[in-house]
Symmetry: C2
Subunit: 222 residues, 2 copies
DNA sequence: ACAGGTTTTTAGGTCAGCCTAAAAATTTGT
DNA sequence: ACAAATTTTTAGGCTGACCTAAAAACCTGT
């Protein structure tokens, strides 16, 4: 059965929306907002995806991926993230420049291509933003990263990923001098506005607003 | 102005068909056959392409690319051939495996991507089949390669490209042991059926039917 | 429990890109 | 030169993926 580019994008949207809250059904309006497509159009598509057994759809109740739908969505995510690694590692793109191009490349259809690309890139486990790359069987590394702003005490962490992928946010981090893998030490938490004073790699002192801190994912330093 | 994937394929078809005979207009049926799309549909599309000023179209007379149409087609060809180099040189695909994947990749839209890919590949001048890669300005290397079967006398040549790109033909050449760049010496021409006895790289003796020889492009050995 | 607001679906329309069948234009053979 | 064959276009239809407007279902607060 062939799945169109458009259908792949709906599946991908449902997949990522379903991870916002644990296992909740995804609503028509959520998909509509996420894809900037009118709700009526989304309803049309949901009916078609349900006929193809890619989703479980109950009118007025929302939608959930079927096993088939889920594995399709994960394959698209795998391709997207592998291509991002290619663009950054091999073609020297910046991490804030690759999303739009990967949105196109993720729909290229060839299992052989992806398998070889994966090998060529050294079977990477994470993309340039720190997001885990599903393996060929769709298995994802469990990442226990937590937004910086959820830490309420001083401590030392490693910056492992971002929760927000917009160009402006990524460029902001670049201008601050924060890169994946950097050491981040919380030196002070301002109780008034929950902003953070941190030190990056032991030398670079910075202030993060709570909003910025909420999009910086860290792990306990080992 | 945006050009759809489908429109790009029509422009590419017109471009390659217009090179079969010098500067002749391309007919509706030629395009129809080449793309396996019914003639009535082709007529529809030609009207749309003409409205967009991508072609010069006179009903019942045929079609010719405009400057804009030609540069669009050449860009697609450039992308196709660069991606083929990537697939063969970097991902170790065989030369008979890359066409279908490149047909998809050629429609990825990003000037920056192509410029960087070109650099990454070492600004190659030819694709894995010996076809010239247009440069960023659309300029093509003039190739003076001639089908082997047009040579009527013994002589020494270099194999520089193929006139036929089908999997079976390419696999045939691989099984014979003929690769781009190999030395090809005509040792005998059979006058009865115009088949050729040749020696490849001074050691490998082979017979070529006229049909095979007609698809092997060679240059005089320098 | 039901009025008012929100969400979702239904109904009907558009456009791109394909199709078949039939009509019109062009080319070919004698 | 003109009938027959071929090529091309026109006419009308379909499907996927979008839209707007209106109806239906669902939720919420008193």
């Amino acid at each position: 059965m062939l799945i169109s580019l458009t259908e792949e994008n709906y599946l991908k949207a449902i997949y990522s929306l379903s991870h916002l809250e644990a296992d909740a059904d995804v609503s028509t309006n959520q998909i509509s907002d996420h894809l900037s497509i009118k709700a009526a159009t989304v309803t049309d598509m949901l009916k078609r995806l349900a006929e193809k057994k890619l989703i479980h759809y109950i009118p007025y109740q929302g939608v959930k991926l079927s096993e088939k739908g889920k594995s399709t969505a994960i394959k698209v995510v795998r391709k997207h993230r592998l291509w991002e690694v290619f663009l950054v590692d091999k073609l020297q793109f910046k991490w804030d420049e690759v999303h739009e191009i990967a949105e196109q490349l993720e729909h290229i259809n060839s299992d052989e291509l992806i398998q070889r690309l994966d090998k060529f890139l050294g079977k990477p486990k994470f993309d340039p933003h720190g997001d885990p790359i599903p393996d060929a069987n769709g298995q994802l590394n469990i990442v226990k990263a937590i937004p910086l702003n959820q830490h309420k005490t001083k401590g030392s962490f490693t910056f492992v990923g971002v929760a927000e992928h917009s160009k402006t946010f990524l460029q902001h981090l670049t201008s601050i001098g924060l890169k994946i893998g950097d050491a981040v030490k919380i030196e002070e938490i301002n109780e008034f506005d929950n902003s953070f004073k941190v030190k990056i790699n032991k030398t670079n002192s910075q202030f993060f607003s709570n909003k910025v801190a909420s999009n910086i994912l860290v792990e306990e330093k080992k």
